[in-house]
C-alpha cells in the first residue's frame, strides 16, 4: 500500500486502524454533527425571535397573568403572577392524578377479583370490559363522557338531585361543603394539611401492622411507630382538627336565579377527565394485579390450606404479599402513565398544567421555548417522583435473600 509507506501518512493510517482511536473519532464526529445541527436550529430560532421582537428569558414568570382561572384548588386572582398560574395548573394536574390513581387502583382491584372469581358471569364481564377499554383510545372515552353523557344532562333548573344536597346538571356536580369562617387565604390551608398528613401517617402506622404480616411490615412504619413525639403530633392534629371543625359549618348548594350558590362545584371537565382516566387506567391495573396473583405458584395456597388457614387468611398472608412483588414494578409505570395522561384534559379544556401554561400563558406572552422547557421539566420531575416513591415501596416488599 503506497499510501501507508510514506512516513507522514503512516501515522494517520495507524491511528485509523487503532480500535480505541477510531471509537473516539466516531464519537467526536457524532458530537460535532449534533452540535452543528443544534447550532443551525438555534441561529434560526434567534433570527425568528428577533424578527418577532421577542425578548427571551424567564422574566415573564413574575409578571401578572391577567386572566381568570375558574377551575382551581388554591386561591387565584388575575393579578397574580404567571408563576402562580403554573402552580394552579400543577395542583390541578396532581389532584387529578391522585384521584385517578386511587380510584383506578380500587376499580382495578375489583375488576381483577372479578376476573379471578369462581362465578363465570363475573369472569366474563370483567374480561369483556378489560378487552373493550384496552382497545379503544383514552381520548375517545373522555370525549364520549364529556360530550355524550355530561352535556346531555338536564339544565340548571332541572337538576338531578339527591336529598336536596347533591345536584347534578350540565354545569357540573354540586356538593355540600364545609365553609371556612372568613377569608381562608393561607390561614387554614397549612394547619389542615399538617393535620391531614400527620393523621394519615398515624393511621397507617397504627392500622397497617395489624393486617400486614410481621415480616412484611414496612420499615418506615416501624420507624414512625418508634418516634417518641408521635403522641405530641396526635394531640396537636386532633386539636387542630377540632378547632377547624368547630368553626366549620356545612353549606348546601342552593339555586339562586340561574346558578347554584354555596357548596362545592365539581366541573364537568374534571368529571369527564377523571372518570375517563379512571376507567381506562383501571383495566390496565386489573390486568397487572391478575398477572401478579397468578404468578404465585398454586403450591403456596395449597400449603397454606393444609396448614389450616382460612381462604381469607390464605389470600392475605400468603398469596397477596408474594403477588405484590410482581405487581409493583408494572404498577408504577401504569401510575406514571396516568400522570402523563392527565394532559388529555386539554381536549376538553380542563384547566391542567398544559391547558393553563402551554395554552393560555403562551398565548399571552409568546415565550415558546421557555414555556415548553419548563413544562417538560415539570413532567419529568413528576415521573421521577412517582418512580422514586414506587422504588422505595418495591424495596420494602422485596424478598429478603440470604
Amino acid at each position: 500500500m503506497p499510501l501507508a509507506d510514506r512516513p507522514r501518512n503512516r501515522q494517520i493510517w495507524r491511528l485509523l486502524n487503532d480500535a480505541g482511536a477510531r471509537k473516539g473519532i466516531l464519537q467526536l464526529l457524532l458530537l460535532l454533527a449534533l452540535t452543528s445541527a443544534a447550532w443551525y436550529f438555534w441561529t434560526n430560532a434567534v433570527a425568528n425571535l428577533t424578527a418577532r421582537h421577542m425578548v427571551s428569558g424567564f422574566g415573564f414568570l413574575s409578571s401578572p397573568a391577567g386572566f381568570d382561572i375558574e377551575e382551581r384548588l388554591i386561591q387565584w386572582d388575575p393579578s397574580d403572577t404567571n408563576a402562580r398560574a403554573i402552580l394552579v395548573g400543577l395542583i390541578n394536574t396532581l389532584g387529578t392524578t391522585a384521584v385517578c390513581i386511587i380510584l383506578g387502583s380500587m376499580i382495578g382491584l375489583a375488576l381483577a377479583l372479578m376476573r379471578l372469581s369462581r362465578n363465570a358471569l363475573y369472569r366474563f364481564t370483567s374480561k369483556a370490559l378489560i378487552e373493550f377499554f384496552r382497545n379503544i383510545p383514552q381520548l375517545l372515552v373522555i370525549l364520549f363522557i364529556y360530550f355524550a353523557v355530561l352535556q346531555s344532562l338536564p339544565s340548571m333548573t332541572h337538576s338531578v338531585t339527591i336529598g336536596d344536597a347533591v345536584f347534578l346538571n350540565v354545569r357540573g356536580l354540586y356538593l355540600p361543603a364545609l365553609a371556612l369562617p372568613s377569608d381562608p387565604r393561607g390561614l387554614y390551608e397549612f394547619p389542615l394539611i399538617v393535620a391531614f398528613i400527620s393523621g394519615a401517617a398515624l393511621s397507617i402506622g397504627k392500622l397497617l401492622p395489624r393486617w400486614v404480616p410481621k415480616s412484611q411490615r414496612f420499615r418506615v412504619i416501624r420507624v414512625l411507630k418508634n418516634i417518641p413525639w408521635q403522641v405530641g403530633t396526635l394531640c396537636l392534629s386532633t386539636m387542630v382538627i377540632l378547632v377547624a371543625l368547630a368553626e366549620l359549618t356545612p353549606i348546601y348548594p342552593k339555586l339562586q336565579g340561574f346558578n347554584y350558590v354555596g357548596g362545592m362545584r365539581i366541573f364537568p371537565e374534571f368529571l369527564a377527565l377523571a372518570t375517563g382516566l379512571t376507567i381506562t387506567g383501571s383495566v390496565y391495573i386489573a390486568e397487572i394485579i391478575r398477572a401478579g396473583v397468578l404468578s404465585v405458584p398454586a403450591g403456596q395456597a395449597e400449603a397454606a390450606r393444609s396448614l389450616g388457614l382460612t381462604r381469607w387468611q390464605i389470600n392475605r398472608l400468603v398469596v397477596f404479599p408474594q403477588a405484590l412483588r410482581v405487581i409493583i414494578p408494572p404498577l408504577s409505570s401504569q401510575y406514571m402513565n396516568i400522570a402523563k395522561s392527565t394532559t388529555l384534559g386539554v381536549a376538553i379544556a380542563y384547566a391542567d398544567l398544559v391547558q393553563i401554561f402551554v395554552g393560555t400563558v403562551l398565548n399571552h406572552t409568546g415565550q415558546e421555548i421557555e414555556i415548553m422547557f419548563i413544562t417538560l421539566c415539570i413532567y419529568l420531575a413528576i415521573n421521577l417522583f412517582i418512580s422514586t416513591a414506587m422504588n422505595i415501596l418495591n424495596n420494602k416488599t422485596r424478598l429478603v435473600e440470604r
Binding site: N44, N48, P137, L139, A148, V354, M372
Partner: protein
C-alpha cells in the same frame, strides 16, 4: 374446590346444569352474586338495545327524521363520509383505496418473499409501491388532481399517521436500542438521555412542542404543514418506546451469540445485522405489536393539535348546530372501529406470543 368427578352427568342438559352449578351456583354467596348480576343485566341491556335499535332511526337524511328518541343513526350516516375521508374531494376518494392497496402490496412483497430470493429487487419494488401510494394520496402529477395535506382527514388520516409513525419509529428505535447498549460512552449517554426524556414526558406536550417549535427552529418563511409536525413528533416519541422494547430483545440474546460472531471475525454491524437483531426482534415481536396498537390508539391524539382525524371529526360533529345535542352515535362508531382494529391486532400479537413459546 374438589370437583365431584364421581357423578358428573353425561347428557347435554345434565352437563349444562352441572357446569352451571359449578360456575354459577357453587355456594349461597355465589348464587346471590349470580342473581344480582342477572337483575343488573336485565335492567341495563334492554335499555342499550332500545337506544341502539328499537327506538333508533336509520332512514332519512336530516335532523327531522330522528323522532324515535333513541340513537339517531341518520346523524352518523350524514357524517360517515367525513369520518372516513375528511375533506378529501368526493371524486378522488378512490385514490385512498389505491394508496392503501399499494401499501398492503409493499408489506405483502416483503412477507411472501421466498427465503433464497435476493432482497434488492423486493426492496426496490416495495419502495416503488410506497412511492405510488404517496403519489396517489398527494396527486399533482400524472394528471391526478392535487389534494393538499390539509384536506386529508378522517380514518384515512389515522392510517396515514399510523403507517408513517410505525415504519419510522421501528428503525429509529432499533438504532437507539443499539446506542443504549453500545460500548461508546457518548453514544450510550445520548441514547439513554433521549429515551428517558421522551418516555418521561406526555405525548400531548411533545405534540404541542413540535407544533410550536418546528416553525421556530426552521428558517424563516419555510412553512411546514401541521400534519408533518405531528408525524415528526409521534415518530420521535414512539422511537423511544420501540427502543425499550428492542432493548429487551437484545438483552435476551445469549452472550455466546455475541462471542461466536466475534470469534468468526464479524464486524460490529455485521454481528448485529446477521446474528443478534434477527433473534432479538423475533423474541420481542409481541412487544412491537403492542406498541403498534398503542400508536394506532394514539393517532387520535392529533385531534388536540387541530388535525381532522376521525375523532376530531366526531368532536366537530358534536358541536354542529344542525345536530345540536347529538354526539354519542359518532363516538360509538369511532369506538367500534378502533376496537375492531386494535382487538384484531392484539389477537394477532397473542398468537405470535403463543407461537414463540412452543
Amino acid at each position: 374446590m374438589i370437583a365431584p368427578q364421581d357423578h358428573t352427568p353425561t347428557g347435554l342438559v345434565g352437563r349444562f346444569l352441572h357446569s352451571a352449578r359449578v360456575s354459577l351456583f357453587y355456594s349461597p354467596l355465589g348464587t346471590a352474586m349470580t342473581l344480582v348480576y342477572i337483575v343488573v343485566l336485565l335492567s341495563v341491556v334492554p335499555r342499550i338495545i332500545d337506544w341502539a335499535f328499537v327506538d333508533a332511526n336509520f332512514e332519512g337524511d336530516s335532523r327531522s327524521s330522528c323522532t324515535g328518541g333513541g340513537a339517531c343513526w341518520v346523524f352518523m350516516k350524514v357524517y360517515i363520509g367525513q369520518l372516513l375521508y375528511g375533506q378529501y374531494p368526493l371524486s378522488e376518494r378512490w385514490r385512498i383505496y389505491v394508496a392503501g392497496g399499494a401499501l398492503v402490496g409493499a408489506c405483502a412483497l416483503c412477507i411472501i418473499k421466498p427465503h433464497r430470493a435476493p432482497w434488492s429487487p423486493v426492496i426496490a419494488l416495495s419502495c416503488g409501491c410506497v412511492l405510488a401510494a404517496v403519489i396517489f394520496m398527494l396527486g399533482g402529477i400524472l394528471g391526478l388532481r392535487s389534494v393538499p395535506v390539509d384536506d386529508w382527514g378522517g380514518l384515512s388520516l389515522n392510517f396515514v399517521i399510523w403507517v408513517v409513525t410505525a415504519s419510522g419509529s421501528i428503525p429509529l428505535g432499533i438504532v437507539l436500542a443499539l446506542g443504549r447498549r453500545s460500548k461508546l460512552p457518548i453514544v450510550r449517554l445520548l441514547s439513554v438521555a433521549y429515551i428517558e426524556v421522551l418516555r418521561g414526558v406526555p405525548l400531548v406536550t411533545v405534540l404541542f412542542a413540535a407544533a410550536i417549535m418546528v416553525p421556530l427552529f426552521l428558517p424563516q418563511g419555510l412553512d411546514t404543514p401541521n400534519l408533518l409536525r405531528a408525524l415528526i413528533s409521534l415518530t420521535l416519541f414512539y422511537a423511544a418506546y420501540q427502543a425499550e422494547v428492542v432493548r429487551g430483545g437484545l438483552q435476551a440474546v445469549d452472550k455466546g451469540q455475541y462471542e461466536a460472531a466475534h470469534a468468526l471475525g464479524l464486524s460490529y454491524w455485521r454481528t448485529m445485522a446477521l446474528v443478534i437483531l434477527p433473534q432479538a426482534l423475533r423474541a420481542v415481536l409481541p412487544g412491537i405489536v403492542n406498541t403498534l396498537i398503542d400508536i394506532l390508539k394514539d393517532t387520535s391524539l392529533v385531534t388536540i393539535i387541530g388535525l381532522a382525524d376521525v375523532l376530531g371529526i366526531a368532536k366537530r360533529a358534536s358541536n354542529d348546530p344542525v345536530w345540536l345535542g347529538l354526539s354519542a352515535e359518532n363516538y360509538v362508531f369511532v369506538g367500534l372501529v378502533f376496537f375492531i382494529m386494535c382487538y384484531a391486532m392484539s389477537a394477532f400479537g397473542r398468537r405470535l406470543e403463543q407461537k414463540a413459546q412452543h
